[in-house]
């Protein structure tokens, strides 16, 4: 082996032996350090995975949704709008959508009812999101009754449950035929809740939105990218809230680590004097201490990060889920696809490994540059 590498190996060996001498203290520090990384990495991984999941799910959603506004409030789309939109250049496909909310007093939760074409859902039957089906104990083939807002009772047969893959969005979803939807909500014929648009050229989305606003001044186009951005902001905001709450703990640890790293005991100073007297250069002592800083912080980072990865992707981020996921009566059960952002990992690694390693160097510089003859006196 090259002498330089061999020397680094010697320095690491010595550092490990030196750390092993104060086992309890160093393991305690490592545990606190790893816990901090675990918390930060869990937050980062979970919110990143949620953002990824949201963008993945929204990738299949329409590029533009058009709502009609009356007195600043969302109102029904009247007949004729679909045709007018269809005449706009660049619009590939337009579809009137019917959806609404229904409060179920049995589980005290709101469901989202949505109409689908008759070839997807037959009249008299419904398809349910998995979370809702679990909450009501429903299986395909079961019957369920809902009392409409007009007071009439409607019975439906559960035709199927929606794929668990879409549970994040379809947790509370009830799909039913258009006729059933209009009957259940007393929805006027020819009216829609909103309109979903497909655009031929994705680059033209903003232009089409502008044209829509001109052609139908009472309409509000909502772009998919805006929805996505809103989701990102929500997760960023929640992550920020948790970080703020944890700031005290993070600061306390930072002070503890700084104190530990930047303070040298009399015993350590004596040892540095001995090492210098027996032939170690100032640079060797500094390199040895640098290895100590890197080994402690890197081990803490790896332990914390791996624990956070397992926590988020194998245990569904059980600790932070209630805060970060948001509130709902019907919590969707979903598994996050492992998503790790390289830049995020690098940032976290930098902010956990670098400050500690740097803190180790400050006092050692002073101690290592003292005269080696001190050990003789």
């Amino acid at each position: 082996m090259h002498p330089w590498l061999e020397k680094q190996r010697h320095l690491i060996d010595f550092t490990l032996a030196a750390l092993a001498r104060r086992k309890a203290k160093n393991i305690g520090l490592l545990a606190a350090y790893a816990l901090l990384v675990f918390v930060l990495a869990s937050l980062a991984l979970f919110t990143q995975a949620l953002r990824k999941e949201a963008s993945f799910v929204l990738a299949a959603s329409p590029e533009v949704i058009v709502q009609r506004m009356v007195a600043g409030r969302h109102d029904l789309i009247p007949p004729g709008y679909l045709e007018k939109i269809g005449r706009l250049r660049g619009v590939q496909k337009q579809e009137g959508r019917l959806w609404g909310y229904y409060y179920d007093p049995v589980v005290r939760a709101n469901y989202t009812f949505m109409a689908r074409p008759a070839e997807e859902v037959a009249s008299g039957s419904i398809m349910l999101g998995a979370t809702l089906a679990r909450a009501r104990g429903l299986q395909p083939g079961n019957l369920i009754s809902f009392r409409s807002y007009a007071g009439k009772l409607f019975s439906f047969k559960v035709a199927a449950l929606l794929s668990p893959d879409s549970e994040l969005l379809a947790a509370d979803l009830v799909l039913l035929s258009e006729d059933d939807f209009r009957a259940f909500f007393d929805y006027p014929a020819g009216h829609y809740t909103d309109i979903a648009l497909s655009v031929a050229n994705p680059q033209e989305v903003r232009n089409i939105a502008a044209k829509l606003a001109n052609a139908l001044p009472d309409s509000r186009p909502i772009l998919r990218e805006e929805v996505l951005r809103t989701y990102q902001s929500i997760f960023d905001w929640r992550e920020g809230i948790v970080l703020t709450v944890l700031a005290g703990a993070i600061l306390a640890f930072a002070l503890l680590a700084w104190d530990k790293a930047s303070g040298l005991s009399a015993e350590e100073k004596r040892e540095i004097g001995i090492l210098k007297a027996i032939g170690w250069e100032t640079g060797d002592v500094i390199r040895m201490k640098l290895w100590e800083g890197v080994l402690v912080s890197l081990t803490a980072f790896l332990l914390g990060f791996v624990a956070a990865y397992i926590h988020v992707f194998y245990f569904g981020a059980a600790i932070f889920k209630p805060v970060l996921q948001g509130w709902a009566v019907l919590y969707p059960s979903f598994t996050l696809a492992p998503a790790v952002d390289g830049l995020q990992v690098a940032t976290l690694a930098f902010f956990t490994i670098f400050p500690y390693s740097a803190a180790v160097l400050v006092p050692i510089w002073r101690a290592a540059t003292t005269d080696p003859d001190a050990v003789m006196r």
């Binding site: 082996m1 090259h2 002498p3 330089w4 590498l5 061999e6 020397k7 190996r9 010697h10 320095l11 060996d13 010595f14 032996a17 030196a18 092993a20 001498r21 015993e267 040892e271 001995i274 090492l275 210098k276 007297a277 027996i278 032939g279 170690w280 250069e281 100032t282 640079g283 060797d284 005269d371 080696p372 003859d373 050990v375 003789m376 006196r377």
Partner: protein, 224 residues
């Protein structure tokens, strides 16, 4: 081997507590022989050792090693000379607690980048020579005073230095152990090493193992 001319050493120079430990020392130390510096506490013996051993630089004067002036060299070069030429045996042994005897012995060789197996073999050979093989794995704080000194001796020899410097080597030893140390000292000269030590122990300075005694008092050389 080592020549000192007009060597002076001051501590805290320019401050109110300035103290001159050495006042112009002229001394030549011969190779392959044992030279003892004798004198009371505060006579400057240890300070002189630190200058010769490249642990410190003189305030003025010259220290020459094999004809080369080393008194003005930067720290990095002094460290290299110290590591290659000198082996130190300190009065308090200065072993690093928590590490085994073997780990302590190989420490001075770490900066050389020599392979660990080679260092361990060399350390084991030294332990055998010093009859300490059975204690190699023991932590140094579990060893007796005599054993600790033998570990310190092995550590001084790991880089195979030409000069051994020992500061009051028998100060913490009983008579039997002090005699044992003198026997080891004879082994050093037999191996062609130069030994420089400080002591005011008659057992050392009057021993036949010591070839020359240099007296010191108040930072000056006096007749021994």
């Amino acid at each position: 081997m080592i020549q000192l001319s007009a060597v002076k050493k001051a501590f805290n120079q320019g401050r109110p507590n300035e103290y001159w430990a050495l006042h112009g020392i002229d001394l030549a130390i011969e190779a392959g022989r044992v030279t003892a510096l004798r004198g009371p506490s505060g006579s400057g013996k240890t300070t002189l050792l630190t200058l010769i051993g490249c642990l410190a630089r003189p305030t003025s004067g010259r220290v020459r090693l094999k004809g080369e002036d080393i008194s003005g060299l930067p720290e990095r070069f002094l460290t290299e000379i110290r590591r290659q030429t000198f082996g130190f045996i300190f009065q308090q042994f200065n072993l690093i607690k928590g590490l085994s005897a073997l780990e302590n012995v190989i420490l001075p060789a770490f900066p050389t980048g020599r392979p660990r197996t080679e260092l361990v073999e060399k350390a084991e050979a030294l332990f055998e020579q010093l009859k300490l093989g059975h204690r190699a794995a023991a932590k140094v704080e579990w060893l007796s005073g005599g054993e600790q000194q033998r570990v310190a001796i092995a550590r001084a020899l790991i880089n195979d230095p030409a000069v051994i410097i020992a500061d009051e080597p028998t100060a913490n030893l009983d008579t039997a152990l002090a005699k044992e140390f003198m026997a080891i000292l004879e082994g050093f000269t037999a191996a062609g090493k130069t030994v420089l030590l400080t002591s005011h122990d008659p057992l050392v300075v009057e021993s036949s193992a010591v070839h020359r005694v240099v007296g010191m008092r108040d930072g000056r050389l006096v007749d021994a």
